[in-house]
Amino acid sequence: MKQKVTSIMNQLELGKANLTVFADTLIDLAKTDKNIVVVTSDSRGSGKLTSFAEQFPDQMVDVGIAEQNLVGVAAGLAAAGKKVFAVSPACFLTARAFEQIKNDVCYSNHPVKLIGISAGVSYGALGSTHHSLHDFAALRALNNMSIIAPADNFETRASIICAAAMKTPVYIRLGKRAIEHVHETDAVFEIGKAITICDGGDVAFIATGETVVQALLAAQLLGRQGVSCRVVSMHTIKPLDIEALVHAARECKAIMTVEEHLVHGGLGEACAAHLLQAGIALPCKIVGIRDEYTFTGTQLDIFKNYGMTAAGLADAAVRLVKQE
């Protein structure tokens, strides 16, 4: 997918929720494309799609609380020529309907755009039933699937525009809270191409989704302590930008991956596997949610508990560089 979209945001100003930007982008696309169809599972409110449904009632399908059917119907609509966005909470979409994603979407290669809303630990204290900490791992194992976790409003809008034009399946996972802009005004988005937000030689943060802003803040903290950091937004988990990863590994002293996902099977293990196979050995740490009963709190409480906020990442980075 070679389509490119350029940022017009100001870095670290608070933006909207990525979910809101997703819904606004869909409205923009639907204004000129009657083939844009949204399928939800009683999730138009949580997907911020009420306005879309009002403006384009003939392009809105609701299957009720039935995620398996959501994905099967979306595959059928895609086969009928529609540009289908199947929208449901990431936790249910990628677990309850996994076999439909595997067979009806990926194996059959119908270009459904799966939108996992309120992903990761966005639902916070609602607990593990509502968390999606498995989705990268599960979907990485599926042939034909692309996986994107946008960091901010710019990446969200760009990924939705690119996804609409894709001829193969794609999963985009979106957070719930208002999120800071992480890019300068001239950033360029392309699926499968990581964006280097700032350059440095001591530690490279390879982060994805809503952890990118935390990595960027950690880099600023570390900069004040004389530790020079590179921050890479690896918005596309699959296909992974191996070139950007290898450059970071060759040009920095240590690598830290950061993701709102279990430490197993996600961005971190994908990066580690590629580095090992490329014969590159360097200090490396995978930061994510530990394999345990998940801590209770808001998204940021949970980030803090697992060392995923700026302070936690900065501490870990210092220890990593010192090889403690």
Partner: protein, 277 residues
């Protein structure tokens, strides 16, 4: 095509199904024999899906939800000219696209099935997409009665009825057997008509081996405006070979050389009789 020609095709298809399974030493014998008359009537009298119009969207669709009866589908598609019949000599063999369940690698197949309970949702989307664009094409799918234990079927029916998809036709290959034994003994899916009616579908019964009756019922769809149609086709698993009929052991049993010889003898005898009529 005359009724006699259709009947003759049914027997020839059965011979080819068994030949396909025998050469591969693999396959789903009983189910393919139970649904072959349905596929025969669909492809030779109802669907008008051909290699020439297959790539167009403006045509009818057939999705085989009970994907394991793929030999029946392959044999009919070969007969309709989608690929050379000799391709079936590679069925289930090293490197072949003709795998044990339908895939889009094979021309004439538009959705990959094999995991049960997927076809109806996909067909609901396909039928809904057709309606959105004002097309008149119909979407047919074939399900097993054992398959109806998959809850996803009933999710699909809820939405198909909600969106008034009278261009959706679900045909149940009601052979009353599944891999373990009689469906009523494994975990009953009966009574089917009452269940489908309650889910907002319009239901008709038919003898699934009577090609004339199948033709008539399929020509009558939709049975009611703004309702999905369900055809409960009463069939016999293993139909056409005496010792395979109504015996769940033939779900995916491959005939021995001796069994194959007897089966061929019976089917060739049936061929002589149908030609005599």
């Amino acid at each position: 095509m005359t009724t006699e020609e259709i009947k003759e095709k049914s027997i020839k298809y059965r011979i080819k199904i068994l030949a396909c399974i025998k050469q591969a030493n693999a396959g789903h014998t009983g189910g393919s024999l139970s649904c072959i008359d349905i596929l025969n009537v669909l492809y030779n009298r109802i669907l008008d899906v051909t290699p020439e119009n297959f790539d167009s969207r403006n045509r009818n669709h057939y999705i085989q939800s009970k994907g394991h009866s793929v030999e029946a589908l392959y044999v009919v598609l070969a007969d309709k000219g989608f690929f050379p019949e000799s391709d079936l000599n590679t069925y289930c063999r090293h490197g072949s696209h003709y795998v044990g369940h339908p895939t889009r690698q094979v021309k004439g197949i538009e959705h990959n099935t094999g995991a049960l309970g997927h076809g109806l949702s996909f067909c609901t989307g396909l039928a809904l997409g057709g309606k959105m664009d004002g097309r008149n094409d119909k979407v047919y799918t074939l399900l097993g009665d054992g398959e109806l234990a998959e809850g996803s079927n009933w999710e699909a029916l809820l939405s198909a009825a909600h969106y008034k998809l009278d261009n959706l036709i679900a045909i149940i290959d009601y052979n009353k057997l599944q891999i373990t034994g009689w469906t009523k003994d494994v975990c009953a899916t009966d009574p089917l008509e009452e269940k489908f009616s309650a889910f907002g579908c319009s239901v008709q019964h038919v003898d699934g081996h009577d090609v004339e009756a199948l033709t008539k019922v399929l020509q009558r769809v939709p049975f009611a405006r703004e309702q999905p149609s369900v055809i409960i086709a009463h069939t016999i698993k293993g139909k056409g070979v005496s010792f395979m009929e109504n015996n769940h052991a033939w779900h995916h049993h491959v005939p021995t050389d001796a069994e194959y010889a007897v089966a061929m003898q019976e089917l060739n005898q049936a061929l002589i009789e149908v030609r005599r009529c």
